[in-house]
């Protein structure tokens, strides 16, 4: 009887006995993410559940990611099936105002230029020896669009999902620190001070309604594999702009997005098991992700300079930095930088146009890669 009691009590120490330095490091990493979310406000909606997921999945014996474990069940239901990113995109579409982009459609070009970093980073990753599907997933960090990165990675390199997701969301939250030095370096003082006229709402409701439909049809025809991403964000936007399903649009922008964000965050955190996360590949992914966001910013600003030249100085090149996705953070950075050099410079709405163009650009970039990969027979 005493012996049976002792054996039973031993079960209470199993967690401690199974704890090694790798688990401890990952629990500490989870705590740091939670700290950054709470104390520094860095992407708290995602980094908090991701950090907490990383903590509990690294408790020895919790078996949360074993078959039948609760986090495995959530992961299999929503991440492995690519369902969560698609549902979040419906919410993002319901929240996004494409008005500034429609007022000045040429700004969409900045959203395309802001995606060059994806492709260059993809080449760097290939050069470092990553297999093609992993290289694509790493390059997509440069989309600066969390759901897109998660969608592509869960499809082609699920073993990298934790590292890619944490890198994507961490760098998105660091956009206000990463972008300004690049913007200052690449533009002259005169360029920074260029004032752009106020964006007035002249686009008709019909255009706003037709936009998501036309973009979905055209984009999906060009890159069919991206139809779930493009279609879901445009469905959300159509619900918003139509004005006839306000309940659905509000639900998508609030309840749906909130619930799925929680489940997505904790599922991603659960992929950060010590054995899978603590390796040189994770460090390489973080390094390449950083290169991707820097290159996106460089190409966005350089294209902004080209537009400035071609328009005779009517476009402030700073708005090119918003051509990366990271909506709406990158646009706010542009507004801050513009007003830093000219107090009467209000670039926010122009940058929002470039920023929403960047969202479309990042989805199209991912869609093109998905379609090319499928065409090559990998998918």
């Amino acid at each position: 009887m005493d012996r049976a009691l002792l054996v039973g009590l031993e079960g209470l120490t199993a967690g401690f006995r199974g704890l090694d330095w790798q688990h401890a490091v990952m629990i500490a990493v989870g705590c740091v993410l939670v700290y950054l979310a709470i104390s520094r406000g860095l992407e708290p909606l995602l980094l908090l559940p991701i950090g907490f997921g990383a903590i509990i999945v690294n408790i020895p014996g919790s078996n949360l990611m074993e078959p039948g474990g609760i986090l495995r069940t959530i992961y299999d239901a929503g991440v492995a099936t690519e369902l969560f990113p698609v549902l979040i995109f419906i919410g993002i579409g319901a929240m996004t105002d494409f008005g500034p982009l429609l007022e000045n459609p040429r700004i969409l070009l900045l959203g395309a230029a802001g995606q060059f970093g994806i492709f260059l980073t993809l080449l760097f990753a290939l050069a470092l020896g990553f297999p093609p599907l992993q290289a694509i997933s790493i390059g997509v960090i440069g989309a600066m669009d969390g759901p897109t990165a998660i969608y592509v990675t869960s499809r082609y390199a699920p073993e990298l999902l934790g590292a890619v997701s944490v890198a994507a969301y961490s760098y998105m939250s660091l956009v206000p620190l990463i972008q300004p030095p690049i913007m200052r370096l690449l533009t002259t003082k005169d360029e920074k001070m260029i004032v752009m006229p106020a964006v007035r709402a002249t686009v008709s409701k019909r255009t706003r309604i037709l936009f998501p439909i036309v973009v979905t049809i055209a984009g999906a025809l060009v890159a069919p594999q991206g139809a779930p991403l493009l279609g879901s964000i445009m469905l959300g936007n159509l619900m918003r702009e139509s004005g006839v399903v306000e309940r659905l649009a509000n639900m998508a922008a609030n309840e749906l997005t909130n619930i799925v964000t929680l489940l997505l965050g904790i599922s991603i955190g659960a992929t950060m098991e010590a054995g899978r996360f603590l390796n040189p590949i994770t460090l390489a992914i973080f390094a390449l992700g950083f290169v991707a966001i820097c290159l996106d910013t460089v190409f966005g600003v350089l294209f902004g300079k080209l537009m400035c030249f071609l328009t005779g100085g009517k476009v402030n090149p700073l708005i090119g930095a918003a051509g990366i996705s990271a909506y709406p953070m990158a646009a706010r950075v542009v507004q801050g930088e513009g007003q830093r050099y000219n107090r009467r410079n209000y670039l926010l709405m122009h940058a929002m146009g470039a920023n929403t163009g960047g969202q479309i650009g990042s989805i199209m970039a991912a869609s093109i890669m998905l379609s090319v990969v499928t065409g090559l027979g990998y998918g």
Partner: protein, 71 residues
């Protein structure tokens, strides 16, 4: 000469920094508005005296709204 100050973009007035009668310098903040969840400072286009503030906190504005006048 009266100089109208217009809102730079669509948004909502958050708070009034200047009031009628205040002497302001060029680029001084007159009003703080909110757009896309970001605080935007509306600044004086030139030095002078604020003669009118036409908005109140909570008001919605667009780029044609004259929010203040400086003389």
């Amino acid at each position: 000469m009266a100089i109208p100050v217009t809102a730079p973009m669509v948004g909502k007035i958050l708070n009034l920094v200047a009031k009628p009668g205040d002497q302001v310098n060029e680029d001084d903040t007159l009003i703080v508005m909110e757009a896309m969840k970001m605080e935007i400072e509306i600044v004086a286009p030139s030095s002078g005296t604020v003669t009118d503030i036409n908005v109140a906190p909570g008001d919605s504005v667009d780029p044609d709204t004259v929010v203040a006048v400086i003389a």
